[in-house]
């Protein structure tokens, strides 16, 4: 793989600049781990970054499946087509480091987007939601809605996703802080595909819907399916705090079946990530004393922001997220870069 990337890169460096478009030669590939609606905002973010920052390209390219080898092959082929910066949602928190190292050796800067890779890594930084913090804040909102008392369930995503463990621990932490008023009666995980999520969440509702007071979901698919289940049941007694901005969840908030959702900032990740890649390719380096945050995987983390949205601001959430993105962008260079 290393040899392949080196050969491809050498050929491109020889001839690539003749086919560049735009004022910058930076061509960013935004590569998610697999098909998922969460990442769809990266496409528009890339287009806007090309327009606003004059990049050569910033294209969203999706692997056919959630599979590390497929993601690696896609990245290789994109390098072959002349992309010279890669923003990637790691297909594997450790496994992705191999290709990131090879890209770095070939002079191609990379960053982990929306999820981090384990250090040591050649990724320049990790830019995403502080998933643990988001889960913690969401659970706090749920506890508040329950007036500090009740039984809750936690629905979350892939167990192999390192964020899942962080989310489970964060929910437990928020519950522990309730002083015994709130109890987690069940955690259902590995339901990031719609069919098993529908099966398990509805089985839970059937068996324990009567005794649960609140639901916190910390992954996209469980949030959609749980919101749909509450809507179908016509249940407004159970309070639910979801995650992300799927239409089903937003509609359920408007209709009163879901209390609120923790929004992430995928657009900002793609937009600012592309901007930073261009800066790095232009010769900027990261400050030694940059105010990085630390997570369980990395100590070079930047939080792309999260915000709780309920029925009062569900119609204006786009502006809220845009505001967060602009705030990060305005201060990014002075905070993190030496240019």
């Amino acid at each position: 793989m290393k040899i392949t990337i080196s050969i491809i890169t050498s050929i491109f460096l020889l001839f690539g600049h003749y086919v560049m478009a735009g004022s910058s030669s930076t061509k960013v590939a935004l590569v998610p781990g697999g098909p998922h609606p969460y990442f769809a905002a990266w496409e528009q973010a890339g287009k806007d970054a090309v327009k606003d920052f004059g990049l050569g390209k910033a294209d969203y390219k999706v692997p056919a499946e959630w599979d590390l080898s497929q993601q690696n092959e896609l990245i290789e082929s994109l390098v072959g087509k002349g992309y010279n910066a890669v923003l990637v949602f790691p297909g594997d928190a450790v496994g992705t480091n191999k290709i990131l190292g090879e890209l770095d050796d070939a002079g191609i800067p990379t960053a982990a987007l929306a999820g981090c890779v384990e250090q040591p890594t050649k990724a320049k930084f990790c830019f995403g939601t502080d998933t643990g913090h988001s889960a913690y804040l969401g659970t706090k909102q749920l506890i508040k809605a329950l007036n500090g008392k009740g039984k809750i369930a936690h629905f979350t995503g892939f167990l192999v996703d390192p964020n899942t463990t962080l989310r489970i621990k964060a929910v437990e932490k928020a519950v522990a802080e309730s002083g015994g008023g709130v109890e987690i009666i069940q955690v259902i995980a590995d339901i990031d595909a719609y069919e098993p999520a529908d099966e398990k969440i509805n089985a839970f509702m059937a068996a324990q819907g009567g005794e649960v007071d609140g639901i916190v979901t910390t992954a996209w698919v469980p949030a959609v399916v749980a919101a749909q289940a509450l809507t179908n049941m016509g249940d407004k007694r159970i309070k639910m705090v979801g995650i992300d901005h799927d239409e089903v969840v937003l509609k359920a908030i408007k209709d009163g079946y879901v209390h609120g959702t923790m929004l992430q900032n995928p657009y900002g990740q793609g937009y600012i990530g592309s901007y930073v890649m261009d800066k790095v390719r232009g010769g900027c380096s990261f400050k030694a004393n940059a105010p990085w945050k630390s997570t369980a995987q990395t100590n070079q983390f930047i939080d792309s922001g999260t915000v709780f949205v309920d029925i009062n601001d569900v119609d204006t959430y786009v502006q809220a997220m845009r505001g967060i993105s602009l705030e990060i962008l305005e201060t990014f260079e002075s905070t993190y870069l030496n240019c």
Partner: protein, 330 residues
Amino acid sequence: MNFFSQEYFKKDWFGLLIVVLLSGVIISFFKPAFLSSFNLYVLMLSVSLWLVVAMSQMIIIAIGQMNLSVGAIGGLVAISFTGLMEVHGFSIPYAILTGLFIGLFCGFINGFLTVKTGISAFIITLATLYIFKGMNLGITEAQPFYQIPESIKNFGNAKIIGPVPYLIIIPIIITVMMWLLMNKTQSGRNMLAYGNSVQSSELMGISPTKVVITAHVISGFLAAIGGMLVVCRLQLGTPNIGDSWLLPSFAAPVIGGAVLAGGKVDVIATALGVIIVAIISQALVIFKIDPFFVQILLGFMILIAVFINRYREYKEERRKKIFIYEASHE
């Protein structure tokens, strides 16, 4: 009369029926909510989908092949069905017919390529899995379709009577049709004969082209129905539909005693296999199993179900051997 010599004991589905009844009794003893109307409704919804998916794979197993693209066909049909209604304004009947045609066509491609190239269906359907999934992603760009007509949403959630959902009607009809096909028609017998021995079936004058293409076309057709049923249930058309179908599509036929080399499948046993997997999945939720141990327990419980059924087969074979031994020494 010896219990093991009873006629029903010889059936593939008998051991599984015992497992279903036993597990139902045990679970409801510890968790009475298992028999609640809502829980039975949820169980039937779950069975509805997996029944169609399992039948789609079972017919390919019958001819001694595998269809890895079952989920990809279901997913492609699901997003085509919803996309045609949302983007192109197709009426529901036209969208359904188009979805079914896509399923039939995908199945035909699988069967045709398998027969004409002589390459194993495993490889052909592995390739078409990527093609169909790629088309799915190309069409949707990983974005769901949300604008589902109310009548489809209602069909996905409404109940006929008590806990029985409308959604289960089609899978039951399909199961009956499949039983008739495999047990009462020449076409079904030809498929089993082909699965048992390709050479022998050819000597019997069975056309391999006809058998393989027919099986794949039916498989594609059923996968298409599965995709549309999921849309009715989820009330959205997402490109991820079908991604999780592959292993369950094999689990139920195999639990039902199907021989992966072909020539032996049992429709009723496969249906019971679906019910067993659904009950096990539900039990793991009902008993609040730690999420990190769910897969281990699921695997063990499927093994137990298979062992119980194999024990019945073992007893049956032993009885036959004793009978032959006694007959030869008379």
